[in-house]
Every structure is written in structure tokens, then in C-alpha cells.
Symmetry: C2
């Protein structure tokens, strides 16, 4: 598989996991930052290789083999991200681009050894689950901060948007994975939240709250 093919497979997987069942050529083109005609070409190629189900004008989806492939790439990507943060001291907003390159390195043994070096992590630095060696994959079953009722206490366990801009915003406001937060009040006007975090009161916009995964703590 070429890097480009792998990137398409990964993009299809990610789109499929945002709830869409049939992925349109246009949607995939936008995700890949390319033209729909290029997508059509690539879908034929991937279809011939048995990685996707594709009938023209009918959209595309991953085959069993395609899903397995996607999970393997995502596993590599996320393990490398853990490595970059834990072993090399990168910050969580710096690792994505480098992991995009590292995920294409071909060596099963390398990934096994890396997994071991990192002590078999289950989540990447953004709180995303790392697929297992044999394709085991648990979805985010977590709620978004924006979905919690007032008075809830929850742990911050992940980010939905993992863009560098958002991550640096969180850093600036001392919001990190593992933090405990309590929802004090929800503003009717703009759905912003007042939360208690590290003994400090914080005003959080709805946009932010709907990009933070939390795990509710039952009291």
C-alpha cells in the first residue's frame, strides 16, 4: 500500500465513525483536501484491491479488510503520538503532523516493540483509544462536557477536536486530561458553562464544551 492509499483508508474510517453510513465522493474529497475526480480514481483503485465497497454514484464504505487496515494505521499513529509525548517530550499539539508521517513506516515488529516500550498504552495524548494488535477497538463511549446536567462532576478524558489551536487554548486555560471539573451553571443566552476546575472558576463557551469528552463521576 502507498502512503496515499493508506491516507484515504484512514479518512474513510474517520468519516464512517462520525455517524455517516454512506460516504460520498464529495465528503471524502473535502476530508482529503483534494478534488472529487481524484477520489473517484482512488476509490476504483482501492475497490480493485478489496479495501472498499464502491459502486459509482453509490458512495463508499470499508470492507472487513479495509477496516482492519484502517485500525492498524490508527494504532501506529496513536502509539507514535504517545512515544513523541512520553519519550521525547513533545507537547500534545505538536505530535499530529509527525505521527502522520511515522504511521506509514512498515514493520510489525517495530510497532510491537514500541507498544512494549510505552507499556501498552490504551489511549493517545488526546484521550483517543489505541486499537489493539488484533484490531480490537473501543469507541469513545464518553459524553461531551456540553451534554452534562448542571451540578455534575466529571473527569476530562479526551478532546473531540484535536487541532493545535484548540489544544493550545486548553493549555492556556490549564485544562488537561485527568482534571476533575464540576458544572456550576449553564448560561441560557449562549449555552456557555461556568465550571469549577482546580479550585478555580472558569467560563467556558459552548464551542469548547462540545469538544471536550468527559467521564461522569457518580457521587
Amino acid at each position: 500500500m502507498t502512503h496515499s492509499e493508506e491516507n484515504y483508508i484512514k479518512a474513510i474510517f474517520h468519516l464512517a465513525n462520525t455517524g455517516i453510513e454512506v460516504i460520498s465522493t464529495n465528503a471524502l474529497a473535502e476530508k482529503m483536501e483534494t478534488k472529487p475526480s481524484s477520489v473517484t480514481d482512488m476509490m476504483r483503485r482501492l475497490s480493485k484491491k478489496g479495501l472498499v465497497h464502491y459502486k459509482k454514484y453509490q458512495g463508499v464504505s470499508l470492507t472487513t479488510l479495509g477496516t482492519k487496515t484502517a485500525l492498524s494505521i490508527i494504532r501506529k499513529h496513536r502509539l507514535w503520538e504517545v512515544f513523541l509525548v512520553e519519550k521525547l517530550g513533545f507537547t500534545w499539539d505538536e505530535v499530529h503532523e509527525i505521527a502522520e508521517q511515522l504511521e506509514h513506516i512498515k514493520s510489525e515488529k517495530l510497532i510491537d516493540k514500541l507498544d512494549e516500550l510505552l507499556d501498552f498504552p490504551k489511549f493517545d495524548p488526546h484521550g483517543d483509544p489505541i486499537p489493539g494488535k488484533n484490531g480490537e477497538f473501543m469507541e469513545h463511549d464518553n459524553q461531551l462536557l456540553s451534554q452534562l446536567p448542571i451540578g455534575s462532576v466529571a473527569l476530562c478524558v479526551g478532546v473531540k477536536d484535536s487541532s493545535a489551536v484548540f489544544l493550545r487554548f486548553l493549555d492556556k486555560n490549564s485544562i488537561a486530561l485527568g482534571n476533575k471539573m464540576k458544572i456550576i451553571e449553564k448560561e441560557e443566552f449562549d449555552n456557555s458553562l461556568r465550571i469549577l476546575l482546580n479550585e478555580r472558576e472558569l467560563q467556558i463557551s459552548q464551542q469548547i464544551a462540545s469538544n471536550l469528552y468527559v467521564k461522569k463521576i457518580e457521587l
Copy 2:
């Protein structure tokens, strides 16, 4: 730069460092395991980018920029090799292929941090020197085992041939970098050597002896 361009630059550097001053299209084609016509095409491309001096029928050599580029790639390759052995537990015969892929990862910061993690190593697992961040490069000034006079005592510091076959042969015979060896006798007939290594006498063919770099210990 594409992976292919980087591989050509590296190949030219390695050929230049085996003593050849002008590198022929054929020699480079053989090194790259490709056809001379492909080499000609690539030399034009690299010449246009200012990485090589190339005039048709006149052979090729690296420009200052080309040399800098080559050293940067070799630095990455060798640092990754150290990582694979020291941190992931690979053996020295397994690391080359994986490092061939890793050397193309683009991130200056990544290499700086890797260098730091590895505690700024000066040699890779095969005893080859690692170029510095700013292009400092020291040649192997070492002698080959085959060049030492009888009675010499020397440390084994590197391998000239770093093919997996040769490296596994050395493993099988418990010859490792850092070992001290004394030359007991040289056989007139086939230039093989009898050496003392780890309190053990060993017969070594001329072929082997001319692929082991040693550093003489003056007594």
C-alpha cells in the same frame, strides 16, 4: 525532496566516500539497483535543484548543498538505528531496513529530541560515526583487522560490511564491537588470521578480517 531524491543523494555520498572521485552513471545505477537511464533522468532533476554537479557524460558529484543534505539523512538514519537497538531491543542486523524508512521523516525537532533521548551518541550500532547537527563528520580513521601486523592488540570498533549475513556471522562467533583482540598468527596460504578473543582462539578468514575496523592499542 522526495524519498527517491534523498536515496540518490545518499548513494552518491556513499560512493564518493569509497574513494571514487567522479561517480559514473553506471556505478550509481548499480548502487541504486536501477537502470542507467533512470539515473540520467534523476541527475538532471537533482542538478536543477542544485544538489549535484552534473554534465552529461562527465559523471556526477555532490554540491555543498548536496553534501549537507546527505549528512543530514545519514545522521537521521544512524540515530534511528541507535534508537532501535538501545531503546527497542532490536539486534544490529535488523535495524537497517527500518532505518531506511525512518530516515525520511521530516522534522528537525524530532531528530534533536531523539539525539537527546539517546544521550548524543557518536556512533551507530555498526560503529559508523553519526554526523553532527551542523554537518560535522569524522571519517573512519580506523584500520582494518587485515592490515594489522602480527602481535598487535586492538579493539574492534566497527564493521565495513554491515549486511545482515555478515553481522549474524559475527554474532555466531561472539565477535562484538568493543572486544579486544590479539593477532597471534597470519596464515601465508590464505591470509587467514589466528586471533585471541575473549580468552579463546579463533581462526578468521581474510574476507572477515578485511571487513572489521579496529583501533590499535599501543602497549
